[in-house]
């Protein structure tokens, strides 16, 4: 094994250990219980943002992720509430359903580029909301409420995940769930980007015509990337529905789509871990400015503007000088 790879693996393991062992310890000892939820939010939002990042990676500005988060939330909620299926089965189902939807949506619209794709996906967010308001299966305007907490996940009588109702702190349960999923997600993204598939995606971002002329099936690759992206959106949405135990047509809105995109920008479009950092900074930046009262938005946006002026290529680009970027 190459030393670089070893260092990266070690780094990842340390990071995982911090998130899964150290952070909960600190939270428990300082009794900052509210951080469980905020960190869970960050983890889930960064999963959805990772999806958006992947579409950026194939050269598409995606402002439609909230639509998939919403669909994912509804798929899980409908299955749990109306059909009594265990949350743990609805979670992958929500992701897969979104992936399937994204194939049908993506086939026509992925031919669009630039602002056109961006706008169509933005419109798609609105469409998802309106469909949720109009359909009977989503219970229309009144949303789905009173969703039970996830039950136990048992395989062959062996309890993999305990019933969340029995946990003395279900927030901690959701925290572990979300952080583990986030780690898996970003590990997967890292693999993907650094595998040949990542290179192919990158080639799409660079020049679709040339990619096509060297024999890359660009429409297929685009669909695959978009489906993965939507899958991640659906997963994020489904867990949010479980945490809030409710889902409404407005649970994920255009503002969320825009935030997902901003997370990617802020972290840096050239970096796999950009969306994670971007989400963290945006979310906590906002939270932290909570104390400034009515000037919160003013200060927040001023900082964003200043950041753009200083680091137009994202936070992670701080390392750019003398450091060869490779995805």
């Amino acid at each position: 094994m190459m030393p670089g790879k070893l260092a990266k693996t070690a780094g990842f393991l340390i990071y995982a250990a911090i998130l899964l062992i150290l952070v909960p310890r600190l939270i428990d000892s300082y009794e900052r219980w509210d951080l469980y939820y905020t960190l869970t939010s960050v983890a889930l939002l960064s999963i959805a943002s990772a999806g958006v990042w992947l579409t950026f990676f194939i050269g598409r500005i995606n402002i439609g992720q909230a639509a998939y988060a919403l669909i994912g939330g509804y798929v899980s909620a409908v299955m749990v509430v109306d059909h009594g299926i265990s949350f743990w089965w609805t979670l992958p189902a929500a992701g897969l359903f979104c992936a399937v939807v994204s194939v049908f949506v993506g086939l026509p619209i992925l031919r669009l580029r630039g602002v056109y794709f961006a706008m169509v996906t933005l419109v798609f967010t609105e469409v998802a909301k309106m469909v949720a308001l109009a359909l009977p299966i989503t219970h229309g305007a009144s949303g789905i409420v009173n969703i039970p907490l996830p039950g136990a996940l048992e395989i062959f009588g062996f309890t993999l995940i305990p019933d969340f109702n029995t946990l003395d702190n279900s927030r901690r349960g959701f925290y572990f769930l979300s952080v583990v999923l986030m780690l898996i997600c970003f590990l997967g993204m890292y693999r993907l980007v650094h595998s040949r598939m990542g290179r192919l995606c990158f080639s799409l971002q660079q020049n679709e015509e040339l990619a096509s002329s060297i024999g890359v099936n660009i429409s297929y690759l685009r669909i695959v990337a978009y489906a993965i992206s939507s899958f991640l959106g659906g997963i994020g949405g489904a867990i949010f529905a479980a945490i809030s135990q409710s889902v409404y047509p407005s649970s994920f809105a255009v503002a969320d789509s825009i935030n997902f995109m901003l997370n990617c920008f802020l972290g840096g479009l050239g970096y796999v871990f950009g969306p994670m950092l971007g989400t963290f900074v945006l979310y906590f930046g906002w939270d932290w400015l909570f104390q400034t009262g009515k000037y919160q938005l003013l200060i927040f946006s001023s900082i964003l503007i200043a950041l753009m002026l200083v680091l137009p290529n994202g936070l992670l680009s701080i390392r750019l000088p003398g450091w060869k970027k490779n995805g």
Partner: protein, 289 residues
């Protein structure tokens, strides 16, 4: 039916005017200005203060609005977009900047003018009533006509004035324009100022009809994006067409489909998606804007 068409025309004239500024900025700088709606709101509030609160003549209020917004637009271009465009690796980065500016303006407007819906006294009383087939208050007619005048004026300006021609050259091909001796920086700034001014003037005009409210910037931007997409991004005739088409679709759609519930906008949005999938460059746009 007549009423629906007249409504659509009136709505379209406003929409077209909103879309014009956005498309101009896009054409010149390839920037999708998320803050367009906020500029509209700012314009509305300036007119509100000058005309509604200080009681000065409406025309004066519009002029004050135009000047202020032009200055704001020029400053945004010069101090924000220009440095970021120069230094960013991917041109999409400007979208984050535009969104941040939108947030910033939202915050400033909320702090300065408060959270309430505002309105001003009617500029004209009375209404046209043709046998209840067409009912239209005079002030709406006046604003509609004014909008069309401004649109025509804008087209003439772009067509025949020196800056207008320079901006068109810039929109055609930035590099070529530069080689031809067009001062790119200067005309980008003028273009941005002009775009912001248009947004502000519409806000000022409409404050007499629909008032103004600090929260509507974002939704206005999104609507403007849609019109620009329909017509083709960066094309002036496209923006005008897009504005009128969206206005007409809303008006006629609501007229015929209202009894089916919430589907008019669903249909508008869905057909926009289908339309763009078939014709990615919009009605009149260049492909792959």
């Amino acid at each position: 039916m007549e009423q629906a068409i007249v409504n659509g025309l009136y709505l379209g004239s406003q929409y077209a005017l909103i879309a014009l500024g956005l498309t101009l900025i896009f054409a010149l700088m390839n920037v999708l200005n998320f803050a367009h709606g906020q500029l509209y709101v700012l314009g509305g509030f300036i007119t509100y203060v000058v005309y509604g609160q200080l009681g000065l003549p409406f025309v004066l209020a519009l002029v004050a609005t135009a000047v202020t917004l032009a200055l704001v637009g020029a400053a945004i271009e010069k101090f924000l977009f220009r440095p970021v465009i120069r230094r960013s690796v991917r041109e999409e980065s400007t979208m984050l900047l535009a969104a941040a500016i939108a947030f910033f303006l939202d915050a400033v407007i909320l702090l300065l003018f408060g959270e309430k819906q505002r309105g001003v006294p009617k500029i004209m009383d009375g209404l046209l009533n043709w046998d209840f087939r067409i009912v239209m208050p005079y002030d709406r007619i006046l604003i509609g006509v004014l909008s069309i005048f401004i649109i025509v004026g804008f087209i003439l300006y772009m067509q025949y004035s020196k800056p207008g021609r320079a901006m068109r050259a810039l929109a055609q091909d930035r590099v070529a324009a530069q080689l031809m001796g067009v001062r790119v920086d200067r005309y980008s700034m003028i273009g941005f100022a002009l775009g912001a001014m248009l947004a502000g003037v519409v806000g000022g005009l409409l404050v007499t009809i629909t008032g103004v409210n600090s929260g509507i910037g974002g939704p206005i931007s999104i609507k403007a994006f849609m019109m620009v997409m329909i017509g083709g991004a960066g094309v002036i005739s496209g923006a005008i067409a897009g504005g009128f088409i969206l206005g007409m679709m809303e008006s006629v759609g609501l007229f015929y489909l209202s009894s089916y519930g919430d589907i008019t906008y669903l249909i508008i949005f869905a057909s926009l998606m289908v339309f763009l999938a078939i014709r990615p460059q919009g009605l009149m746009g260049k492909p792959w804007g």
